[in-house]
């Protein structure tokens, strides 16, 4: 039996994808949790940027919103939103965009706009925010999302932020954009795009997870790499730092009530 949850497994694995020399444009939610866990463990010098304009920020607790005061007060500097998107992101200073999503498809396209038809949606989601340009102007993109048939669909209802398009070729011959998604981290496994077709392939199963579980949680015929790895379990230190961070965050937000 494991002494960590699948959500912790996902956060720790996502954190490990970041290294000290990266400049990471961070989305709220699991990406923010993972990016700060990386900063508090193996990557103390990783540069975190939030779209509210906070450059090189080191929050003590996780922000609820992308623009909490904590992010600004612990940042090296805070710039305007146009400057953030034009100079820092579009200008090529972001190595990794770290995104979550509501729906993801086999070509790593992201849908955060709606479920159903655009004019008569079944479910209206918040929309693109910074993601459409983070997805193409960052040098590469990491995606983290809880895996289920609802989130992992063959074709997203709407491409908010392009992965590799409907045919895997959307980035071909487009100048001056990044490589796109290079890894997807879920609560079950790690997936990477096939170098040729760009279809997502499972490269590593988290400890105790079976192929059947992954198949059951995927809305298309998922492929597995020939050399299928097992993701290393979280270390005691990683779990301790993550749990402290979450407890600190909960206490901070509760104290405001």
């Amino acid at each position: 039996m494991s002494d960590f949850t699948s959500a912790e497994m996902m956060s720790v694995t996502a954190a490990r994808a970041l290294t000290n020399d990266m400049t990471c444009f961070v989305g709220i939610g699991v990406p923010s949790e993972a990016a700060n866990l990386a900063r508090l463990t193996h990557a103390p010098d990783v540069t975190l940027i939030y779209e509210s304009g906070t450059l090189q920020t080191k929050p003590d607790v996780l922000p609820l919103s992308i623009g909490d005061g904590e992010l600004c007060e612990s940042a090296l500097t805070t710039v305007s939103v146009p400057e953030m998107f034009r100079y820092w992101l579009q200008g090529g200073h972001v190595s990794v965009g770290f995104l979550g999503t509501a729906q993801l498809d086999r070509y790593a396209n992201i849908n955060t706009t709606l479920i159903g038809d655009y004019l008569e949606p079944q479910v209206r989601l918040p929309g693109g925010g910074g993601a459409p340009e983070i997805g193409t102007n960052a040098q590469e993109v990491f995606i983290t999302v809880k895996q289920s048939k609802r989130t992992f669909v063959k074709d997203v209802d709407f491409i908010t932020t392009v992965g590799f398009g409907r045919d895997g070729k959307a980035r071909d011959n487009v100048p001056n954009i990044g490589r796109g998604p290079t890894v997807v981290i879920t609560d079950l496994c790690i997936l990477k795009p096939d170098p040729d077709t760009k279809e997502l392939v499972v490269t590593s199963l988290h400890p105790g997870v079976t192929r059947e579980q992954v198949i059951d949680a995927t809305g298309w015929e998922i492929r597995f790499a020939e050399q299928l790895a097992v993701t290393p379990a979280p270390s005691a230190r990683e779990l301790e730092v993550l749990r402290d961070l979450k407890a600190r965050t909960d206490a901070h937000h509760a104290a405001q009530q």
């Binding site: 909490d68 600004c72 007060e73 939103v81 918040p126 340009e133 908010t160 932020t161």
Partner: protein, 271 residues
């Protein structure tokens, strides 16, 4: 020179039915007090523009002030949906709401272009996205120098900009600190502007490169302490994250929302 007015006067004089209104503030310094005054004065058919509609537009949409919304991220940050926005889009309650949807980068560029007096903004954006299929205000142009295909969107030049800031001096010069968002751009892009402030001081004590809006670039200033709550004003009060969570329950149901609106907006009156 900016004119000092009461909130009631400023909204009554500068915001008219049918106007295009930008009430900005990126998570920080959201002008809630002004939004509530717009609701109280029952302004109608507004085209509301804001990168993140947030609770302020959820309230105004639910109160029936809007006919159209131009935005780039329509959620309750860190919490979930904006239920009044969704109810208007999905069910047409209290009235049908037309939406025009962008990305943050495009809207930030469009505000900047508006401030710069240009008709359009150009960005390396929307590559591979379906958004251009549902928003006819997103076009692509070819760079005349490099041949690169780039996205173009019209600049935002609203009738009225409304922002909140920390303080003004007695002449009406305004200092904005912290997450400055697109506060400066939206005021300069607009025909008229209302700036609500926490307080008026003798000296702004602004650093040489601080974000300062000169009095002659602003139409009117209103003193509205805690005017950004439940968002926050750096140096004055924190974001009321608990209320943002609570809003989810209030806004989910039409009757609960209307009761909240009656008690907290209509019956409280202008500050």
């Amino acid at each position: 020179m900016a004119e000092f007015l009461t909130l009631q006067e400023a909204v009554s004089r500068h915001i008219h039915d049918g106007d295009t209104v930008c009430m900005e503030g990126f998570t920080h310094l959201i002008p809630f007090a002004a939004g509530h005054e717009v609701i109280r004065q029952e302004k109608r058919d507004l085209t509301l523009v804001r990168m993140t509609p947030d609770l302020i537009y959820d309230q105004m949409i639910g109160a029936g002030c809007a006919k159209k919304l131009i935005f780039s991220w329509g959620g309750n940050p860190g919490v979930g949906s904006l239920h009044r926005l969704r109810d208007a889009v999905e069910k047409g309650w209290p009235n049908k709401l037309e939406i025009l949807e962008h990305s943050h980068a495009a809207m930030a560029c469009a505000y900047e272009a508006g401030a710069a007096g240009l008709p359009l903004a150009i960005l390396r954006g929307y590559v591979g996205s379906d958004l251009p299929k549902v928003n006819d205000q997103i076009k692509f142009i070819e760079c005349p120098f490099s041949g690169e295909r780039l996205a173009a969107v019209p600049s935002i030049r609203p009738d009225v900009a409304v922002i909140h800031a920390q303080r003004a001096d007695r002449k009406g010069n305004v200092l904005v600190e912290g997450i400055i968002g697109i506060q400066k751009e939206v005021v300069l892009a607009a025909k008229r502007s209302i700036v609500t402030v926490e307080e008026v001081v003798d000296d702004l004590n602004a650093g040489v490169n601080a974000c300062v809006l000169p009095s002659w670039a602003i139409t009117s200033i209103v003193v509205a302490p805690r005017g950004a709550s439940p968002s926050y004003a750096l140096g004055y009060y924190d974001r009321d994250n608990a209320f943002y969570k609570e809003w989810d329950g209030i806004a989910r149901d039409r009757e609960t929302f209307q009761a909240w609106l009656k008690e907290n907006v209509f019956e409280k009156g202008a500050a």
